[in-house]
């Protein structure tokens, strides 16, 4: 630790630790006291618990490699170059991440036709589609702040573009790449919705096994064994990721400077191709949704759009889709706030030495907890007086935050870790108070990455369906829950209204992410002038 570190830095782990203790460890402990039996431990050793693992690991590994390979060039294009619609492109890439899995599955179906065989390949494609955003956002946040001077020097000294990238750029991006890759791996390995909808025997995950064990077979010892197996495997991945990024070259982060697209030549063609490809990948399924929302009785119609306020107005079933929108936006704001405070403070812990650093690692663990397990634990822990939180709206955004916090840590921690902390010592030696010196060194980076994470947290909350669906609740459901309910009954109106809500969800996400990105740009420019 630098001698000049502000004292509060050593406290920063308290908030995330208390949050995780209360909303993660405690519900799981309550659940464990109900279901922990010798039977469960015996099942942990049994082959039925583990037989899905090898294929699930393979599936997640392939999904991860492809998401990184496709995500990196897109991150390069949208975070380092200035072009018309750059902001839109960057926001659009985030959209697939927020689409409820049932919508992703349906739009894939209507794009590809039902002749496409379900199974391994389709699941991998869907995982890549959904997770490109994770790579683009996490790596892009880092990449945007590199001015490219060192690469330019390397090129001047005769290095090829590839070797300049490999020896100069890549090492500084490594923490962000590893960080995003481990998140994508964990998402694909613990995937539920896509696996249920598009998969077959070769794509089962422990999470889908847990769902079957809890809610079809009521086999709680078996589910406990699967959940423990999943937690163990995910922890191994996350710890490996953390160890792989421990030694990282540090360099001066600068306020962002985007290059204009290079003039005619191979470089320009490649960049343009990447940009067009990124648009195509994201827009195709969304366009299919828009079309569905505009088709009624075989012709073009606005019926679903104009009728959206009155769907099921007089029954308790669905409630107004418009009130679901209000619910979702409110939850997204609360989720972003909670996730940024908790995740940001957890990430700051990487700047400290020793035990406190463990917190930033622990904050990623929720990604590995089965949502069925956590949902049931939360139900047991918080649905009886006096800690009865069902009547309040708090449980759902908290459940969303548990998923968003790890992403915030994944964005913020690598950026802080590779920031040159010597500025802090310099500032302190010039007489700045510790907190001031800290902010001088890390403030500009923090502002940028915190806003990027806020956008990601909003997106998580808007699209989340899994964990929240297990929670007992009253009041208006969120938009994804609403969409799923509409899609669970026949009739043109159900499908059309679900398509309208999905399009609104996409537009909402775009709006929020664009606004957050713009805010980020403004603060960056502010920092540049300072």
């Amino acid at each position: 630790m630098h001698g000049t570190a502000p004292r509060w830095l050593a406290w920063s782990w308290v908030v995330p630790a208390a949050f995780l203790a209360c909303f993660l460890a405690y519900p799981l402990a309550v659940l464990a006291t109900r279901v922990a039996t010798v039977d469960g431990l015996t099942k942990l050793m049994s082959a039925t618990t583990w037989h899905v693992v090898p294929l699930a690991v393979l599936q997640a590994a392939i999904s991860t490699v492809l998401a990184v390979v496709i995500g990196l060039p897109i991150a390069n294009a949208v975070s380092r170059y200035e072009f018309r619609s750059r902001a839109l492109a960057q926001a659009l890439v985030t959209v697939p991440f927020v689409l409820p899995t049932v919508v992703v599955a349906l739009s894939f179906r209507s794009l590809l036709g039902s002749g496409v065989p379900q199974g391994f390949a389709l699941v991998v494609v869907a995982h890549v589609y959904v997770n490109i955003a994770v790579v683009v956002r996490i790596v892009g946040a880092q990449w945007a702040q590199q001015d490219g001077d060192f690469e330019a020097v390397a090129r001047t000294l005769g290095a090829t573009a590839w070797s300049a990238f490999r020896t100069v750029t890549l090492p500084t991006l490594r923490p962000a790449i590893v960080s995003s890759a481990s998140v994508v791996f964990v998402f694909s390995f613990t995937s539920l919705g896509i696996v249920l909808l598009l998969g077959d025997a070769s794509t089962r995950t422990l999470e889908s096994q847990i769902l079957r064990q809890t809610s079809v077979l009521l086999d709680f010892p078996g589910a406990t064994a699967s959940a423990l197996a999943q937690l163990a495997l995910v922890s191994v991945i996350l710890v490996a990721g953390a160890i792989a990024t421990r030694r990282t070259p540090r360099r001066r982060m600068r306020p962002v400077f985007r290059h204009p697209l290079p003039g005619a030549g191979a470089g320009r063609t490649t960049l343009l191709a990447v940009i067009v490809l990124a648009y195509a990948i994201v827009i195709a399924p969304v366009a299919a949704l828009v079309v569905s929302s505009l088709r009624a009785s075989g012709s073009w119609s606005l019926a679903w759009w104009t009728g959206i306020g009155s769907v099921d107005a007089s029954t308790s079933r669905i409630g107004s889709p418009l009130s679901a929108l209000a619910t979702s936006v409110g939850f997204a704001m609360v989720c972003a706030l909670v996730a940024c405070v908790v995740g940001g403070l957890a990430a700051v812990a990487v700047l400290t030495r020793g035990r406190t650093r463990v917190v930033s690692l622990l904050a990623i663990v929720p990604l590995g907890i089965s949502s069925a397990t956590l949902g049931l634990g939360t139900l047991l822990a918080f649905s009886r007086p006096p800690t009865d939180l069902r009547g309040t709206w708090l449980l759902v955004p908290i459940a969303h935050s548990l998923i968003a916090v790890p992403l915030v840590v994944a964005v913020v921690a690598p950026a802080l870790r590779s920031t040159d902390g010597r500025v802090q010592a310099v500032a302190a030696s010039l007489g700045a108070a510790p907190t001031r010196a800290f902010l001088t060194a890390y403030g500009p980076v923090l502002r940028v990455v915190m806003l990027a994470s806020a956008g990601l947290a909003c997106a998580v909350s808007l699209g989340e369906f899994g964990a929240a669906s297990f929670l007992a609740r009253t009041g208006s459901p969120t938009v994804p829950v609403q969409i799923v309910r509409l899609l669970s009954r026949p009739g043109e109106q159900s499908y059309g209204s679900a398509a309208v809500l999905a399009v609104i969800l996409v537009a909402l996400t775009l709006g929020i992410v664009l606004a957050v990105d713009r805010l980020g740009e403004t603060t960056r420019r502010g920092a540049a002038q300072a």
């Binding site: 004292r7 050593a10 406290w11 308290v14 630790a17 208390a18 203790a21 209360c22 460890a25 405690y26 049932v102 599955a105 349906l106 179906r109 039902s114 249920l196 909808l197 998969g199 889908s208 809890t214 809610s215 079809v216 077979l217 009521l218 086999d219 009624a296 009785s297 007089s314 029954t315 308790s316 079933r317 669905i318 035990r355 949902g375 049931l376 139900l379 822990a381 009886r384 007086p385 006096p386 800690t387 009865d388 069902r390 669906s469 297990f470 929670l471 609740r473 009253t474 799923v484 669970s488 009954r489 026949p490 009739g491 043109e492 109106q493 159900s494 499908y495 059309g496 679900a498 398509a499």
Partner: protein, 360 residues
């Protein structure tokens, strides 16, 4: 130098944790007299598909003076899983929506305080003989059946299949989509229908279905909306496992002007009957109110509202059905139903055997 701060912080977080835990472990076996639930309210735990008209819900308060608080907890399976784990110290007073594949497990786990509804005499014949009726109360039922796109067959000049045996004939190759019984409730019901029909030979029947090109989807939504020719997407399979009430639902949720006829019909052979029960939760804070809810659910008012709200049939006899039901819902004379205890014993093995046959 050892800083004191981490120690203080550790203590602080311990306090937070213990505050959490003492708060909710206090009074785990709260007796009704010390419960904090307001005297005038009763809490109903149910699944996401629960629905009644607003006017009918308001009627409960008018009749009993009690406020009805409705809490949803995921799909039926998720709801029962939560209720089983909380058996004896529940988070609500009364539960609705436990179906006949799970009711035995819930009863065995002590979820219910036995209560026979004062209205149970009004149940339809088969449900009156339900052995569980002295403990839990059937509220509605529905049949899971193969649904048919009639237009598709008319266009092809092909006869519509009418029995389970037809489905494995070569002329119906590559036409059926079913749901995975491990992840979908109608999928499970269809598997049980085939086990009921073919007994020990059910795996051979499924092998024949697989050889005849049956497609398996993970959920009803994916099967009906995505793969069935009459769903919202561009599906290409004219046969789907769905409900006997899907054709009326298609009319109710159609665009205006409503079509005269649904585009689909029901194959009434090989249907499986699902019954939904309500019951008083053991350890309820307001058991008296809970019993009133059970009776109310079986009252004429609610039973008449059930068809168009949830697309199921009322369990009460002599309830007037809406026109769209009498005209278009599949009329199933002999639905399959396995003994709940048999299902309870066999389910895990059946799912595993099904997975082996279907390579899923």
């Amino acid at each position: 130098m050892r800083r004191p701060i981490p120690a203080i912080a550790a203590i602080a977080s311990l306090i937070v944790i213990s505050a959490c835990s003492t708060a909710s472990t206090a009074n785990p076996t709260a007796s009704p007299s010390v419960s904090v639930a307001p005297r005038g309210s009763v809490t109903l735990l149910t699944h996401d598909a629960f629905a009644l008209s607003d006017a009918v819900l308001a009627d409960f308060t008018k009749q009993t003076g009690l406020t009805l608080k409705v809490i949803t907890a995921g799909d039926a399976g998720q709801m029962v899983a939560g209720a089983v784990l909380a058996a004896g110290s529940p988070s609500a007073d009364v539960i609705f929506g436990v179906d006949n594949t799970l009711v035995d497990k819930a009863l065995a786990a002590g979820v219910f305080e036995p209560y026979e509804s004062s209205q149970s005499g009004s149940l339809i014949g088969p449900l009156k003989q339900d052995p569980n009726v002295s403990k839990v109360t059937p509220i509605d039922y529905g049949d899971v059946c193969v649904n048919v796109d009639d237009g598709w067959y008319a266009e092809k000049g092909l006869a519509v299949p009418s029995t389970l045996d037809d489905l494995i004939k070569p002329e119906y190759r590559d036409q059926l989509v079913v749901e995975d019984p491990g992840t979908s409730s109608p999928g499970l019901a269809f598997l049980l229908a085939t086990i009921n029909r073919y007994g020990d030979g059910w795996q051979d029947y499924w092998q024949a279905l697989a050889d005849n090109g049956v497609k398996v989807s993970g959920s009803w939504t994916d099967a009906y909306e995505g793969t069935f020719t009459r769903g919202g997407g561009q599906g290409d399979r004219p046969l789907v496992v769905s409900y006997a009430t899907s054709p009326p639902a298609e009319i109710v949720y159609a665009t205006d002007p409503k079509p005269e006829q649904p585009s689909t019909s029901v194959m009434t052979d090989g249907c499986y009957r699902q019954v939904e029960y309500a019951g008083v939760l053991a350890g309820a804070a307001n058991p008296e109110g809970a019993r009133k809810v059970v009776d109310w659910l079986l009252s004429d008012t609610v039973q008449a509202d059930v068809p168009l709200s949830m697309f199921v049939f009322p369990a009460r006899d002599n309830v007037t059905l809406p026109d769209v039901f009498t005209k278009f819902a599949g009329k199933v004379d002999a639905p399959a139903q396995l003994d709940p205890a048999t299902v309870n014993d066999g389910l895990s093995q059946w799912l595993s055997d099904w997975g082996t046959v279907m390579q899923r």
